[in-house]
């Protein structure tokens, strides 16, 4: 060590106004610090982090008085970067800086024991000095970033995230599980609190994102695996087999009506209120508007599957499936074999945004609400029932009569005269908090149910003023701009509120329903007979969300939604750098909140990727492969999957991925051969701190 390198430590003690000085005798600490080994100067100031405070430190560095800096002040969590920057600005390697936390860990904690607080402050300063003597200069490193982004999920959140990124010039892969983008919002009739038609505001966005030159839309596809790290993710995506040639399919829909009745299954778009054929287009305004064949529903008309020879009629003509026969472009041809596993593609991206949405709970769980009755429906089914693209084209009838409606429609389409005999509802009852705020299902509030019940009630009452509408509420939750005004509008329309959750629904022989509740406002049990009961069932995580989170290396909360890094400060970040979350995959929320979060996630991805490279703090672990015995303890302990065992000259050695390492130090602490060094927190440095505190004086290690 040359004289130039010998530590010349400056100690700077902050009063933090009264926060520190109110409990710690700053002058006494300063005098104590002055006498510590290698300390050349000790100063104090009212606010060390202020401009003049920083200037004191900078001046000492510039004059060559000090070459190590110890600041005794608040917490390094918020202020370490500020002081490091000050050191750097004055020409000192910023890792020659050490901080003693004498506020959060001393003055605040021991506010009423001033003498002891002062003694503790001295020890903390001594420990910091002990470490500062052993500090080494470190350099920040940079890694190159791939600027492409993958957005998972093509609902309203995914669409907005993709659009914002694409408009900013980033290439986006928008991956959607279903044949069409649009998500749950595509199923909604109107949206609160303005009653905009959902399709009218969503469809243009679907078209815009699909046609955007910077967006590559990959629908009917799912993530298979994710490798790599921030800036360089390698994602394998499985494009499911569509069984229809999408290059040829024009979405004309000719095939939809010829699919035989036996092949019909519940229609996902209409939430099971109607059926679809095995060959289907997701919904009328689907993007892309392409047909797919559901292989589980297809009954293989003509006894032939893809790539098999067709059977022949007596006169030798091939027997084709009806869809095949009717298709004007040959998109449904079964001549060629098709791989049931679809196609696996690999994409390289710098960042991933997860916007996979939610699903609503099925009514089947709730035995107390007569789920076997067709007239007990979920609120999402109600959306379909009142939607112009729904099973009844928006005609309000009791769901048990939908089959009658469909028969009538078939007759009319064939030009026959027929009378529709479906029953119209006179009474509709909404049941709140079904599966939400319930220890048996989900403890959280699904946040949107109060508002969508009010919305549906309002739409119905405005269109059919004679309808009796009851909404049961445990309590009405309408926080948000214009939300409570919306609720008042409903009240004024004469929608009747039952204050209390409905406890039971009984199916009557005439397919009406006996509803039993208790009204807390009247203090009496109430009951009524309803034609339709609408259950506001909870929003819950998608079935495969946990599995997707596992593939991505991000976590889910106890309730099953994706977990953000910090509820308040990093709401769209995850613990895995470069992966962001938004929309209902993160938790129940309405459309405005989903969109806001999607835009936040897009902005976060942009600010990460825009520079094209990313600074990596050097405070990470390093393996001395000479010392490493290849035991693999560190590999199992690493919470970030940053450590792998590699073959070096015939023996197993631990290797740390510098971009993945977060510098937690678990590996260094556990390494039995002390082969791992956590820079900035080396074995010697930490030991010097501990021993100094134990011995109550600066000790040599």
């Amino acid at each position: 060590m040359t004289a130039e390198d010998k530590p010349r430590i400056g100690v700077y003690i902050c009063h933090c106004g009264e926060n520190i000085a109110g409990a710690v005798d700053v002058e006494e600490v300063r005098k104590f610090a002055e006498k510590l080994p290698d300390v050349v100067v000790a100063r104090d100031y009212l606010f060390m982090c202020s401009d003049p405070g920083q200037e004191i430190i900078k001046e000492d560095i510039r004059k060559g008085l000090v070459n190590r800096v110890v600041v005794a002040a608040c917490t390094p969590r918020t202020h370490e970067p500020i002081f490091r920057k000050a050191c750097e600005d004055a020409g000192l390697n910023k890792y020659y800086f050490e901080m003693a936390n004498i506020r959060d860990q001393c003055s605040w904690a021991h506010w009423h024991e001033k003498e002891k607080a002062t003694e503790k402050a001295k020890l903390l300063v001594a420990a910091a000095v002990a470490k500062a003597r052993l500090l080494e200069p470190l350099e920040d490193r940079y890694v190159e970033l791939n600027k492409d982004v993958m957005v998972l999920g093509g609902g309203i959140a995914g669409i907005f995230a993709a659009l914002d990124l694409a408009n900013a010039g980033f290439k986006v892969y928008l991956v959607e599980k279903s044949p069409s983008i649009g998500g749950n919002m595509a199923k909604l009739d109107k949206t609160f609190p303005t009653n905009d038609c959902s399709a009218c505001i969503l469809t243009p966005l679907m078209v815009e994102v699909a046609n955007h030159p910077n967006v590559e839309l990959i629908t009917y596809a799912e993530v298979e695996s994710v490798d790599g790290t921030v800036g360089n993710f390698k994602v394998k995506v499985r494009k499911k087999q569509t069984y229809v040639d999408w290059d040829k399919c024009t979405g004309c829909g000719a095939c939809l009506n010829v699919c035989p009745p036996k092949a019909r299954v519940p229609d996902e778009y209409n939430e099971g209120l109607s059926t679809r054929g095995a060959i289907y287009i997701a919904f009328p305004q689907a993007v892309p508007k392409k047909a797919v064949i559901d292989p589980d529903a297809c009954i293989r008309c003509g006894g032939r599957w893809f790539g098999e020879e067709p059977r022949k009629t007596k006169d030798g003509k091939p027997i084709l499936a009806p869809c095949e026969k009717v298709c004007p472009t040959g998109a449904c041809s079964r001549d060629e074999p098709r791989d049931p596993n679809g196609e696996l593609i690999e994409l390289n991206v710098g960042s991933i945004i997860v916007a996979t949405g939610y699903r609503v709970m099925d009514k089947k769980h709730f035995k107390e609400y007569a789920p076997d009755s067709p007239n007990v429906i979920t609120a999402l089914q109600m959306e379909r029932l009142i939607s112009a693209t729904g099973p009844t084209e928006g005609k309000l009838i009791v769901p048990s009569d939908i089959p009658k409606y469909l028969e009538w429609k078939k007759k009319i389409e064939k030009g026959k005269e027929a009378e529709l005999e479906a029953r119209k509802p006179h009474v509709i009852t909404f049941v709140s908090c079904v599966g939400s705020r319930d220890e048996r299902y989900h403890t959280y509030c699904s946040k949107v149910c109060c508002m969508y019940m009010l919305k549906q009630a309002m739409l119905l009452k405005e269109k059919y003023p004679d309808l009796e509408i009851y909404i049961s509420f445990i309590d009405v939750r309408t926080p948000g701009k214009d939300f409570d005004e919306y609720y008042m509008r409903c009240r004024k329309l004469g929608i009747k509120i039952i204050k209390g959750k409905i406890g039971g629904v009984q199916r009557l022989p005439d397919e009406r329903l006996l509803v039993k509740g208790y009204d807390a406002e009247l203090g009496r049990p109430v009951e009524l007979i309803s034609d339709i009961v609408v259950l506001a069932t909870a929003m819950e995580p998608n079935m495969d969300l946990k599995e997707l989170a596992r593939k991505l290396g991000i976590s889910v909360g106890a309730e099953g939604f994706l977990k953000e890094r910090h509820t308040k400060l990093y709401p769209v970040d995850t613990m895995t750098e470069g992966i962001f979350i938004c929309g209902c995959a993160q938790g129940p929320k309405d459309i405005p909140d989903s969109v806001a979060q999607a835009k936040a996630a897009a902005a976060s991805a942009m600010s990460l990727l825009a520079p094209g490279k990313m600074k990596v703090e050097p405070l990470i672990s390093e393996v001395d492969q000479e010392k490493c015995i290849g035991c693999g303890i560190c590999e199992n302990l690493c919470p970030y999957g940053a450590i792998t065992l590699v073959e070096v000259n015939g023996s197993r050695k631990s290797k740390i991925n510098e971009t993945l390492c977060k510098g937690c130090g678990v590996c260094a602490a556990a390494c039995p051969s002390k082969a791992i060094t956590l820079h900035g927190f080396t074995y010697e440095q930490v030991l010097a701190q501990i021993r100094t505190i134990a011995a109550k004086k600066v000790v040599e290690v």
Partner: protein, 188 residues
């Protein structure tokens, strides 16, 4: 019903109430109350601020302002007509001052009285009061005329009662109100 007699409150059958409102009566009770002056009835969100300061609620009357409004909203016409709470209202008007939705619960109370009068659902004391109002210009009229004389006061107080012209005007006014139409008291 048997249970009800033992003091257990009976179940409120909302369907029956709604059907009666539709089939038996020309108008819903809520619509009548609005017509009778409680224009903002539907804005009530049952916050309970009115009940917190209502003397009726504090003295154990069942259908005080907040509950009265709720019962009107669900159409409990018959049960309300059987109950005398609105006549006990002391018209302090504190409910109207405190209401965050400008529902004017006191107006609801008055509108309910008007509805009850139409249905002759009023206590005998009220009829006495009306008769006295018509005859003397005082709803509550003192009986001690002898006592007044003893201390040297005129038999009638110096109010409408002793002013024949004013009394005639009052009678004319009352004859032009709904009171005459209802025939609750004799009006010569």
């Amino acid at each position: 019903m048997e249970l009800a007699e033992e003091g257990v409150p009976p179940v409120i059958n909302l369907t029956e109430l709604a059907e009666k409102e539709k089939e038996e009566f020309e108008e819903k009770v809520s619509e009548l109350i609005i017509e009778f002056g409680a224009e903002n009835l539907m804005a009530c969100m049952q916050c309970g601020a009115c009940a917190s300061i209502c003397p009726l609620a504090r003295t154990g009357f069942e259908w005080y302002n907040k509950k009265l409004i709720k019962a009107i909203l669900v159409g409990m016409r018959e049960e309300l007509l059987d109950d005398m709470t609105p006549w006990a209202c002391v018209a302090c008007n504190r409910c109207t001052e405190i209401c965050p939705r400008n529902v004017t619960p006191f107006e609801v109370m008055l509108a309910m009285r008007r509805l009850m009068v139409e249905d002759f659902a009023l206590p005998t004391l009220t009829i006495e009061g009306l008769r006295s109002l018509y005859e003397h210009g005082h709803a509550v009229y003192m009986t001690g005329r002898e006592a007044r004389k003893k201390v040297g006061l005129p038999e009638k107080p110096p109010t409408t009662d002793s002013d024949e012209k004013a009394l005639q005007e009052l009678k004319t006014i009352l004859k032009n109100t709904k009171l005459a139409e209802l025939g609750l008291i004799p009006m010569e």
